[in-house]
């Protein structure tokens, strides 16, 4: 039996279905709606494409250093699962010269299908960002960390992985009403990708997957 090409494409990338929500907090009482598209690169019909994950996010600036947000993974919804994220962006450090601004995103990832099938994954992202070009752009890098809390998997076997980290870099183009974003991720480089049914395309050999995401944000 060769690769079951698409079977679990969605699965490995459940933990990386969207770019980082808000690297920088919104202004106080500012609202924003973001739509992003992208995912892990996979082989599909002799082409290498990013998984077409669509995520919609709403954010609200509680104050100038704290933004609350909620996301809905539209692609998961298509599969009959309600996957949403609730979290905040908290800016810890202001940019100072070459020293970047630093923010964190504690997030609860909730996936619900029915009363017998639901999961919660805590996540915490740590981001460093640099404004430049008169704040018309900012570049960022960071690490997203997912945590699997279950100690057991099917048939009472030991759950092997509890920490899945994803380094990423991104660039945001800031305009008056709109932001445009592109982000690259190395998804779970600590996990072998040749033990699954998916033909991931990654320059990193037999571990992890490589993701590309684009997004746009409308600010109100």
């Amino acid at each position: 039996m060769k690769k079951i090409v698409i079977t679990s494409l969605v699965i490995f990338t459940v933990m990386s279905c969207s770019p980082t929500r808000f690297v920088k907090p919104l202004a106080k009482r500012q609202q924003a709606v973001n739509l992003s598209l992208g995912g892990a690169l996979i082989s599909y019909s002799k082409l290498t494409i990013p998984m077409p994950f669509v995520t919609a996010t709403y954010g609200y600036g509680i104050d100038s250093t704290l933004t609350a947000f909620g996301s809905l993974n539209v692609t998961s919804l298509v599969y009959g699962n309600a996957q949403f994220e609730l979290g905040i962006t908290k800016q810890l450090l202001q940019q100072s010269g070459a020293w970047p601004g630093v923010s964190i995103n504690p997030v609860a990832n909730i996936i619900y299908r029915n009363k017998d099938a639901s999961k919660i994954y805590p996540e915490i992202d740590i981001n460093a960002f640099w404004d430049y070009n008169h704040k018309r752009n900012f570049f960022y890098l960071g690490v997203s960390n997912w945590f699997e809390l279950s100690g057991k998997r099917a048939y009472d076997q030991q759950q092997e992985h509890h920490w899945l980290f994803t380094p990423m870099i991104g660039e945001t183009f800031v305009r008056k009403k709109w932001n445009y974003n592109i982000e690259l991720k190395v998804i779970a480089p600590n996990i072998a990708n040749n033990t699954s049914t998916v033909d991931y395309k990654t320059p990193f050999g037999t571990h992890g997957a490589f993701g590309i995401y684009i997004g746009c944000t409308r600010k109100f």
Binding site: V5, S8, I11, V74, V78, A117, R153, Y155, T197
Partner: protein, 304 residues
């Protein structure tokens, strides 16, 4: 809220609701990755897992390609599927026969070397070998599904029964996806009750596959409605069980898939063959061929 917004929201909701049951079940079936217009068996030049030399060749007069009508109890009409029998069809009433349930890819041509190899167990054409193309595979009509696997393999068993085979001389062999109908029809026999079962690189369950692919302890139902659960089903199997698995199987992991099935077997007689260095598709190569045939042959002959 403006009317246009309400309309847009309604459309969005309707679309989501209408596609909300999209599942990944169909992707389990990789039928006809390499399409064929006719079965060529010995003359097939397409991709195969391994090739055999001429010493394993089968005389043409002992190869029968034919069609069967596969019809489930809940189906109004039958579906035409293809089958190949290696052996003398006039001796099925006295021969031992291996029902070979193939994997998820392609068709009979792809798995022909595997069936041919098994036809050399305990000597050339000592045992008959039957292999069917599940519906949607090769030139078989219809669409693959989990329930159709059982119906299609049972159609093969009905044919064997009609030729005089009894369960005592029926050996069930399932490779990879084929482990699903092999386990099901051994645990819950329909036309014939197999006397022994051999599983090569079996699936534990659809949920275990989801978890292997995600590295997370996700419920399988997030992505699939498949009910595949060999690991539970094998608990009810009492017939002798032989398990073969490559230690380097990166498709169906030996520990999270095969070993679970093996450990869950509660019957009185089981044996394991972990083949060092073998992956998913080359277990007989790494065994290697002769030792593979010796092991399978010994299991078939062994009195339990």
């Amino acid at each position: 809220m403006k009317t246009s917004r309400i309309f847009s929201l309604s459309i969005f909701t309707m679309v989501i609701c209408s596609v909300g049951c999209l599942r990944l079940d169909d992707n389990l079936f990789n039928a006809n990755a390499n399409k064929i217009t006719k079965y060529e068996l010995n003359n097939y030049k397409g991709e195969v897992d391994f090739k055999l030399d001429q010493t394993y060749g089968i005389p043409a007069n002992l190869v029968s390609l034919f069609t069967l009508t596969s019809k489930g109890a809940d189906e109004a009409a039958g579906t035409k599927i293809y089958a190949v029998y290696i052996g003398d069809t006039t001796r099925i009433s006295t021969d031992t026969v291996i029902m070979y349930c193939h994997g998820n890819k392609d068709h009979l041509d792809f798995y022909w070397p595997r069936a041919q190899l098994l036809a050399n167990t305990n000597g050339k054409n000592r045992y008959g070998v039957l292999m069917v193309d599940y519906r949607g595979y090769g030139l078989s009509e219809g669409k693959p599904s989990e329930s159709a696997l059982f119906t299609d393999v049972d159609a093969g068993l009905q044919w064997l029964k009609s030729k005089g085979l009894t369960g005592e001389r029926l050996m069930m062999y399932g490779f990879s996806l084929g482990s699903v109908p092999a386990t099901k029809l051994t645990a819950e026999p329909r036309s014939l009750r197999p006397s022994k079962i051999i599983l090569e690189a079996p699936i534990a369950s659809s949920e275990a596959m989801v978890q292997d692919a995600s590295a997370l302890a996700l419920p399988g139902s997030f992505f699939t409605d498949l009910k595949i659960n060999n690991a539970d089903l094998i608990k009810t199997v009492q017939q002798p069980f032989m398990w073969i698995h490559g230690t380097e199987d990166h498709f169906l992991n030996i520990k999270t898939q095969g070993e679970v099935v093996y450990n869950n077997y509660k019957g009185p007689n089981k044996e394991a063959h972990k083949i060092a260095g073998a992956g998913h598709s080359n277990v007989p190569v790494y065994f290697p061929f002769q030792q593979y045939l010796v092991a399978v042959g010994a299991f078939i002959r062994k009195k339990f």
